[in-house]
């Protein structure tokens, strides 16, 4: 695969001049073709199904539905509810991960004994598979009877909380935020390490301390990295699924049903291919609004 036809230009000892030394087409082709198919085919099929009457359980429902699926979805309060839940989850988790991510990054950037090990501990949650995270929180910590949290609340004289019945979306948000804080921490920590120490020393000389230093030097320096954290996390958070499946299954009622979970229910539990595809198109549009800005930022970065 790595062999390429011999090229007379080979004799010229220059790298990447006007004419390349080797033919790069066979090197690029596998990746490009695969990703191109991956991009086009499922998307085209989703669009196609979304205007079809197509239910796996009902062979009589065939033919074009045109925009009936969309009309049905858009007038269905379940969709509006799911979009609201999705936005609440994404925004809440983003806020929590940025605040705690900055806190952890600043704390772990400072010198103290055992810092290396402390950093490893802090990023553990990111490497734990989502189903394990969700089940550990659901049972060991948030269980209303035997969970650790209820014991803590009881021992300070407060009533135990039935997390997933009373605050389903917030509880899922707490778990997801916990999973993503290490991601923010890692990126912001890397970014902090490129902060000019002399600039800090100079600011200190001028009498800047603690919060002033943080607000005027550290935070502005982190601004770009925070933007990147927010955009990348948004892409992933729009697809949060396993955490919901193993904790609340979207309930109680529809209280923690997000857009991904609604699509999953419509497709694989109700077998409504057309309706689920219309939901999929809506999810793709939402993600692309964010992706547009993310791709622009990263492409801009490539030029430097």
């Amino acid at each position: 695969m790595l062999l390429s036809p011999k090229n007379p230009a080979l004799a010229r000892p220059v790298v990447a001049e006007d004419e390349p030394l080797i033919n790069t087409t066979p090197l690029m082709a596998p990746s490009v073709v695969l990703l191109f198919i991956w991009m086009i085919v499922p998307l085209a099929m989703t669009l196609w199904f979304s205007v079809q009457r197509y239910n796996l359980l009902d062979p009589t429902s065939v033919g074009f539905a045109w925009f009936d699926n969309y009309e049905f979805l858009l007038t269905d309060p379940a969709l509006l509810n799911a979009i609201k839940n999705t936005i609440a989850l994404v925004v809440g988790v983003l806020a929590a991960t940025v605040v705690f991510g900055v806190a952890c990054a600043v704390a772990l950037d400072a010198q103290f004994p055992g810092r290396g090990i402390a950093r490893l501990f802090c990023i553990i949650p990111f490497f734990v598979m989502p189903t394990v995270s969700a089940l550990v929180w659901k049972n060991l910590l948030m269980n209303p009877v035997n969970g650790l949290f209820s014991w803590v609340l009881k021992s300070v004289g407060l009533p135990a909380i039935d997390w997933f019945s009373n605050y389903p979306l917030s509880s899922i948000g707490i778990i997801v935020a916990w999973q993503w804080i290490p991601f923010a921490t890692l990126i912001l920590l890397t970014s902090l390490q490129s902060l000019d120490r002399e600039q800090i020393e100079a600011a200190r000389m001028d009498g800047a301390r603690g919060w002033t230093l943080f607000w005027n030097i550290t935070l502005p320096h982190l601004y770009r990295s925070i933007t990147i954290v927010v955009m990348i996390e948004t892409i992933f958070l729009l697809s949060v699924f396993a955490e919901i499946l193993v904790t609340t299954s979207g309930g109680p009622g529809e209280a923690s049903t997000t857009l991904p979970f609604l699509i999953y229910k419509t497709a694989l539990l109700d077998y409504d291919v057309g309706g689920a595809s219309a939901g999929g198109v809506i999810a793709i549009i939402l993600a692309n609004i964010v992706a547009f800005f993310l791709v622009r930022t990263i492409a801009h970065n490539l030029e430097r």
Partner: protein
């Protein structure tokens, strides 16, 4: 900058406090894995106890655990290997023989990652069903290869970019051909970067939960989907759940720690180094 002893202690306390807080749920789970079931659900919680290995034995006996573990290994390992084989040449070509379109190609590859999985669940599911790929390891390997390919290409690209051009030019001057140059010079030079790329791909595939839950039922089920099946029985199996979980996340934690520095580069597509 001189710090008072009080400040030093405060810094260490805050750093360690936050870290332990973050790690606590997993540490608590690890502790529960060595408890008996009644100790695990005890309230008030038990911190000191005689550790037992019976949960691990039970997990191995009852749940066909090695089967799911092997599925995870095959699916994560296979997809990573495939993504590296497909991605390496492309990253090499773009890093060392860039054309006017290279930047556009890179950005386009990245944009394929932006498609939310759930948006294409229906067509993928139907295609898998008609191709007989539901609940097969090869089906999941295929999915994860596509899922990781853009990240793999990007990460390799940034590692190749870091190789000083002069070294490569010197090798060409000495009469090395591009193919030799790739095998003899570039691969050894970038081996650590390729390794971290591979590790990141393994981690992402190992922990992937959306496709594994939706595209497998039993034969090809990896650990993520297997653990999800613990969600139905309330309460009573906490110690066994913890033991199974600990075994499932153990290897990946080790990998994650090994690759934590390069992780940032991979996950931000080189935007933060």
């Amino acid at each position: 900058m001189e710090q008072s002893t009080g400040q030093k202690i405060a810094t260490a306390l805050v750093g360690w406090g936050l870290s332990l807080l973050m790690a606590f749920p997993i540490l608590w789970m690890a502790l529960a894995a060595f408890k008996t079931e009644s100790q695990a659900i005890a309230s008030p919680p038990i911190f000191f106890f005689a550790p037992t290995l019976e949960n691990f034995a039970a997990v191995f006996e009852r749940a066909n655990y090695p089967h799911f573990f092997l599925n995870s290994v095959v699916v994560a390992g296979g997809s990573t290997l495939l993504a590296l084989i497909i991605g390496l040449p492309a990253a090499y070509a773009m890093a060392f023989y860039p054309t006017k379109r290279t930047k556009d190609v890179l950005v386009w590859m990245l944009s394929t990652k932006m498609m939310p999985a759930v948006g294409v669940l229906v067509p993928i599911y139907l295609m898998f069903r008609s191709a007989g790929l539901i609940d097969t390891r090869s089906g999941l390997v295929f999915m994860y290869t596509l899922m990781n390919l853009p990240i793999v290409v990007w990460m390799l690209f940034t590692f190749f970019k870091d190789v000083p051009k002069e070294i490569l030019e010197a090798a060409l001057l000495d009469g090395a051909r591009p193919v030799q140059q790739f095998w003899m010079l570039l691969l050894p030079l970038t081996a650590p970067g390729i390794a971290s790329t591979g590790l990141l791909a393994v981690i992402l595939a190992w922990n992937e939960a959306f496709w594994s839950i939706n595209l497998s039922t039993s034969n090809a089920t990896p650990l993520t989907a297997f653990i999800a099946s613990f969600s139905s029985p309330e309460g009573l199996f906490w110690a066994k759940l913890s033991a199974a979980s600990l075994l499932a996340i153990g290897p990946i934690l080790a990998f994650g720690w090994m690759t934590q520095k390069q992780l940032v580069r991979g996950l931000t597509f080189g935007a933060v180094k």
